[in-house]
């Protein structure tokens, strides 16, 4: 297939795919009369489109394993087995496949676990398995998974019916959290031990206890899964001596294939406890064989090397469980439970109920995991989880939000990244300084909140993104870049001097002149660090590791009023939900919560307000207040109004805007601004090599587009104002150098393009009128006389170029052809572009109106092409090509030369001149603007520029707005 053919198919497809069925059929019928092959191709493509998700599913599964849809590995969905109606597969693991099912007798949802075919047993083993399964089913203990029923499917597959448990496995929890608090670990071990005690009493050994078989329920209950299954599994293995499952949790006697009793399960408790407390397994080694060797022969990794805050009693307990000789371990689960219970109160301290905290941890993660609620089950390979949607405590009160009491603190339109001094009297901010060529540097400025006593502290930063004050007000901290080798956090005295480099990372202020600098991602361990640094001498006091499996994308830090605690904000990706994490100075995670506000955007300000005991947070997407209960260390997120748009009320926040919240939480500082359009005229004297002068004509906070008249004496301006479902534009005309504007009445909805007619008497414009339709109009300069030239499909016209006598050249959306629409009765023509043109961007008629000059891109999209087209014959003639990033406009001047501009590789607009048969000459770079037009004598140009005028604003009633 050649590119043109694909282009034709694609453009027909693009139009038709948006239509409803009837219109599709009509359009396809039309197509088949003109080009039956095209119709066939488009039809094929449409069919593939409607079915694309299913057809591409295998590919998606390979490339995006996590998004793979739950499969139905046993093909059981929809079938009824015994009195269970099977709904869908919700998980699979080493032991079997779990389906969600409805118990039709008791009318409840259950999980059915089918053993995998490899676990099929001979008749003797089947009987033993059934006997044991029934024994397990008879056990009744809160720490053991309940088994409702044991059965056999038609094809002889065993299944167990179990409740659908909400929650996650211990394995999932440890993968996510790493090291766990001592109290949580001990509590989980205690409940596991209680379950083991009950089963061991009945003579049943688990044989495969591991974190994947331990389920943590949202109410803090721990459930052991898969009791008794391992025996059946082991018996089903045909190869003598073959092992199945995870070596890491096997006891030495199990590895040696000896007879087992309950003490093998106690060994597993030891391994699990070790792992919960240290984040590592006691016996390392990469492969099963080396792990097994270590279990048989090596001592466990010394615990103090991994963690130094365990009591001697707890360390002894773990080591006793990991004795190679079963006789040296605890004799029974009962004995172990006694010791665990004695350890627990000593470490529980003032933290509050461990069970409650376990519950909360689950709730917090569940919010995060709502969209992938069955994933944890797939990891579990055990009992199914039911997603319980977490409730957000909404603190909304009736009544309209109070309007923000906003003051503007800077007036220059180039201020950003502001922060408030601790005493609230001064602000620090970044000021952008740009030269005429558009190159910008940044400087740090402080001033009083009333604008007085301005002080510039540090100039010439290449990049800048945050400021802050030390708690004693003597230093400013900021994130900036002074070049490739000097970026990150800097500190500077508020009196001036040279900035001191603190290292790459984001900062937060702790107390006095102490700072925290968060450094993400130091390989090879994906560990981030929070460093405590003193501002006056840059000395590092602590390096606190932030252990995270996988990457920590965005690490923020925040201060909380505990002697030994930090609140940090961790985001895995810049747009993923932030997690608030309470840590100690060793990096141990004490608590964590994912507040319900989802993604926050890039800039977040968080302030702990001691007097209110509230955590206040502001970001581009949310304003919220979180409540933090110090006694229980319980964070509950409450999203409160006003929404962020109310705070901004009419201002735009660009991608680099920011926030700061005053120490008392009452005031909010933010930088934002209106988008300002500026209209410039450029003296385009082509004789003056490379020199252009730009004059500002007018600026407006409405979005402007403007074009200079062919005679160069007037400018038509379109002002865009938002309206429901689109925008409306008003035209007005003003003298070239500015002055009185004459407005053309009657606004135009959804203006797409407009141009002066060659004689300057009328303005032609193209605007959207309804779905997929556009209208081409002509209006005189008073707006009294308008006429419709044509109605077209949206794809048929994107740019218009008026010719003489009311004719107009239009470029369709695909930009591969141009059409000439003439006055009625004269016949319209469409000329397709030749192979050497990829897309057409600019068109201008010659002075004799017999030809058009065309500015285009070549098919690979690498070179700019200048060409002419003969209007009568449609013959394209290439004048030349040149390098560049993007084409601009082209204008055939009255002296026969052709003027055009393109974006050059350095990003500026270069202006060029050429003529048929003549050389191409570069006239220079244009000083400003983007939307250009030029008079027909080439002497005058108009251009527009758009930028956000960021200033610093303070919302003085922010606290009040939050409290409403």
């Amino acid at each position: 297939m050649d590119p043109q053919r694909w282009q034709a198919i694609r453009s027909a497809f693009d139009t038709i795919v948006e239509m409803d069925d009837d219109s599709r059929a009509n359009r396809l019928t039309l197509l088949s009369s003109s080009d039956p092959e095209l119709r066939a191709a488009v039809e094929l493509l449409l069919a593939a489109d409607s079915d694309a998700d299913a057809r591409l599913a295998p590919l998606e599964t390979v490339f995006f394993p996590e998004s793979a849809p739950a499969s139905d590995p046993l093909g059981l969905a929809g079938r009824t087995i015994s009195h269970f109606q099977i709904m869908e597969a919700i998980g699979a693991g080493g032991m079997g496949v779990v389906y969600r099912a409805q118990d039709t007798r008791l009318g409840r949802a259950v999980a059915l676990k089918f053993l995998l075919p490899s676990h099929h047993l001979d008749s003797g083993a089947r009987a033993r398995f059934l006997r044991e399964a029934h024994l397990v089913a008879a056990l009744d203990h809160p720490s053991l998974c309940t088994i409702h029923d044991v059965g056999t499917s038609d094809d002889g597959r065993f299944f167990l019916a179990m409740p659908l448990y909400p929650g996650e496995t211990l394995k999932a929890r440890m993968t996510r959290d790493g090291v766990m608090p001592i109290s949580d670990a001990v509590e989980i071990a205690r409940q596991v031990t209680e379950g083991l005690h009950c089963a061991h009493d009945a003579g049943i050994v688990h044989r495969d206890l591991k974190p994947g078989n331990v389920m943590l329920l949202p109410d803090g209950t721990v459930k052991i899964l898969d009791f008794g299954l391992a025996k059946a599994r082991d018996q089903s293995l045909s190869e003598p001596g073959a092992r199945f499952g995870t070596v890491s949790y096997m006891s030495p006697e199990q590895i040696r294939g000896e007879a087992l009793d309950g003490r093998a399960d106690l060994w597993a408790v030891g391994v699990i406890l070790f792992e919960m407390l240290t984040g590592r397994k006691p016996f390392g080694g990469g492969e099963d064989i080396s792990i097994a060797h270590a279990i048989l022969h090596d001592a466990p990794v010394p615990i103090p090397r991994l963690r130094d805050d365990l009591s001697a009693a707890l360390e002894d307990l773990v080591l006793r469980l990991l004795q190679k000789d079963p006789c040296k371990r605890y004799a029974t689960a009962e004995e172990l439970r006694g010791d665990l219970t004695r350890i627990e109160p000593a470490i529980q301290g003032t933290v509050g109920s461990v069970r409650k905290r376990l519950r909360r941890a689950w709730n917090a993660t569940n919010r995060q995991a709502r969209s992938r609620r069955w994933v944890s089950v797939a990891i579990a390979g055990g009992v199914a989880a039911v997603a319980i949607s977490a409730e957000l405590i909404l603190a909304r009160r009736p009544g309209p939000p109070p309007s923000p009491d906003r003051v503007q603190l800077t007036l220059t339109g180039n201020a950003n990244d502001a922060s408030l001094s601790p005493d609230g009297a001064r602000i620090a901010f970044e000021e952008k300084q740009c030269d005429n060529a558009g190159y910008c540097t940044y400087q740090v400025v402080t001033q009083d909140t009333d604008g007085q006593n301005r002080l510039v502290l540090s100039r010439n930063a290449a990049n800048f993104f945050r400021t802050g004050w030390t708690a004693d007000g003597r230093y400013l901290v900021f994130n900036a870049s002074y070049g490739p080798d000097r970026w990150g956090a800097f500190v500077i005295s508020t009196l001036g001097g040279a900035p001191r480099h603190l290292g790459g990372g984001e900062f937060d202020v702790l107390s006095g002149d102490t700072l925290l600098v968060a450094v993400g991602l130091l390989p090879p361990d994906s560990i981030g660090w929070v460093r405590r640094i003193t501002a006056h001498d840059g000395q590092t006091l602590d390096s606190i590791p932030i252990h995270d499996p996988g990457a920590t994308w965005n690490l923020g830090v925040s201060f909380l009023p505990f002697p030994d605690r930090l609140l940090i904000v961790v985001r895995k990706k810049w747009d993923s939900a932030p997690e608030l994490r309470l840590i100690d100075f060793r990096g141990t995670v004490i608590d964590r919560v994912t507040p319900g506000f989802g993604s926050l955007g890039r800039r977040v300000a968080i302030r702990w307000v001691p007097s209110r005991q509230k955590l206040v947070l502001a970001s581009q997407r949310e304003v919220s207040r979180s409540e933090f209960d110090i006694l229980s260390m319980d964070v509950t997120a409450s999203r409160v109004g006003p929404d962020i748009d109310t705070i901004f009320s009419g201002l735009q926040m660009s991608g680099d805007g920011n926030f700061d919240i005053s120490l008392d939480g009452e005031r909010l500082l933010h930088s934002a601004g209106p988008i300002e359009s500026t209209l410039w005229t450029i003296g385009a004297r082509r004789t003056t090599e490379g020199r252009f002068t730009a004059t500002r004509v007018l600026s407006s906070t409405a979005f402007l587009r403007a074009l200079i008249s062919p005679a160069g004496d007037r400018i038509v301006v379109a002002r865009e104002v938002p309206m429901s479902g689109g925008h409306a534009s008003d035209f007005s005309i003003l003298p070239r150098e500015g002055g009185a504007e004459s407005r053309i009445p009657s606004g135009v909805a959804n203006l797409l393009d407009f141009e002066w007619s060659p004689d300057g008497a009328t303005i032609m414009y193209l605007h959207g009128i309804e779905r997929n339709k556009v209208r081409l109009m002509e209006s005189d300069t008073t707006g009294r006389r308008t006429r419709e030239i044509a109605r077209l499909d949206e794809s048929a016209a994107i740019d218009i170029h008026p010719l003489r006598d009311g004719a107009v050249c239009i470029i369709p959306a695909e930009r591969r052809s141009l059409s000439i629409i003439r006055r009625r009765g004269k016949g319209d023509v469409t000329w397709r572009a030749p192979d050497w043109i990829g897309s057409i961007w600019g068109v201008s008629p010659s002075p004799d109106t017999k030809s058009l000059a065309v500015l285009a891109i070549d098919p690979p999209g690498k070179l700019m092409v200048v060409a002419t087209v003969d209007i009568e014959s449609g013959r394209f003639t290439k004048l030349g090509t040149l390098g560049g990033e993007w084409p601009g406009w082209i204008r055939w001047l009255e002296d026969g030369s052709i003027l055009f501009n393109v974006v050059e590789t350095q990003g500026a607009w270069g202006l060029f001149t050429t003529r048929p048969g003549g050389p191409t000459q570069r006239l220079g770079a244009l000083p400003v603007g983007e939307w250009f037009s030029v008079s027909k004598d080439g002497r005058h140009m108009a251009a527009l520029s758009h930028n956000v005028k960021n200033d610093v604003y303070m919302i003085r009633n922010f606290g009040k707005m939050l409290r409403r």
């Binding site: 297939m1 050649d2 590119p3 053919r5 694909w6 282009q7 198919i9 694609r10 497809f13 693009d14 795919v17 092959e37 191709a41 094929l44 493509l45 593939a48 489109d49 694309a52 057809r55 591409l56 295998p58 590919l59 390979v62 490339f63 995006f64 394993p65 996590e66 990469g286 990049n463 993104f465 994130n479 870049s481 490739p484 080798d485 970026w487 990150g488 290292g503 790459g504 993400g520 991602l521 130091l522 390989p523 090879p524 996988g550 990457a551 994308w553 965005n554 990706k573 810049w574 890039r602 991608g655 680099d656 690979p860 999209g861 990033e885 993007w886 050059e904 590789t905 350095q906 990003g907």
Partner: protein, 190 residues
């Protein structure tokens, strides 16, 4: 690490300012890092699923001083990484297939070829060949698909990287996906 990050960030900025030599300098850095990450992944606990999105974004996080890069720079990096990822995966898939067929010596360590699971080898090479075909008739659409499958770019990032509007990228991706669905089910447009 700081120096690698700032080097990459600097190169990215030079590249988006139009310096093509910067791109040439970036490629080996990205390639090495992706290879290294893939190795770490393989040594990890039994997870040898092909997670291109994860690898590419991890490379980004590790190589780039990330929070300060704006969308165009991020998009350019991810687009480049998707290209490197494609080459890396396809090379390894081909080597592995050759090794499986006993086709002479393979220049790569066997371990490296495990980056693509045996069941997925053909998916990778089929996609690569389909993208190459699409690239001859519509390079930009081929890029959009490459960004998605080999880099996991968002549509916005992808649109930025190919230099088009979100709406255009969306439209082009739709027909490109339909085309790909046809190709992979063995049908061809003529």
């Amino acid at each position: 690490m700081a120096s690698i990050q700032s080097e990459v960030t600097g190169l990215l900025k030079r590249w988006s300012a139009g310096d093509e030599r910067a791109r040439d300098q970036l490629i080996p850095l990205v390639y090495e890092r992706l290879r290294e990450l893939a190795h770490l992944r393989l040594r990890g606990a039994g997870d040898n699923s092909l997670n291109t999105t994860g690898l590419v974004h991890e490379a980004y996080i590790r190589l780039v001083d990330a929070p300060r890069l704006d969308l165009p720079n991020r998009a350019h990096f991810l687009a480049l990484a998707s290209e490197v990822m494609r080459n890396l995966l396809v090379d390894r898939a081909r080597a592995r297939m050759a090794a499986k067929r006993g086709g002479g010596q393979t220049p790569l360590e066997l371990n490296e070829t495990l980056l693509v699971a045996d069941d997925d080898l053909e998916s990778v090479t089929d996609l690569d060949e389909a993208l190459t075909r699409l690239g001859t008739v519509s390079p930009r659409q081929a890029l959009l698909l490459q960004h998605r499958y080999f880099g996991g770019l968002s549509l916005e990032e992808s649109a930025t990287a190919v230099g088009t509007s979100l709406a255009t990228a969306k439209r082009e991706l739709r027909s490109a996906r339909a085309w790909l669905a046809l190709e992979l089910s063995g049908e061809r447009l003529h």
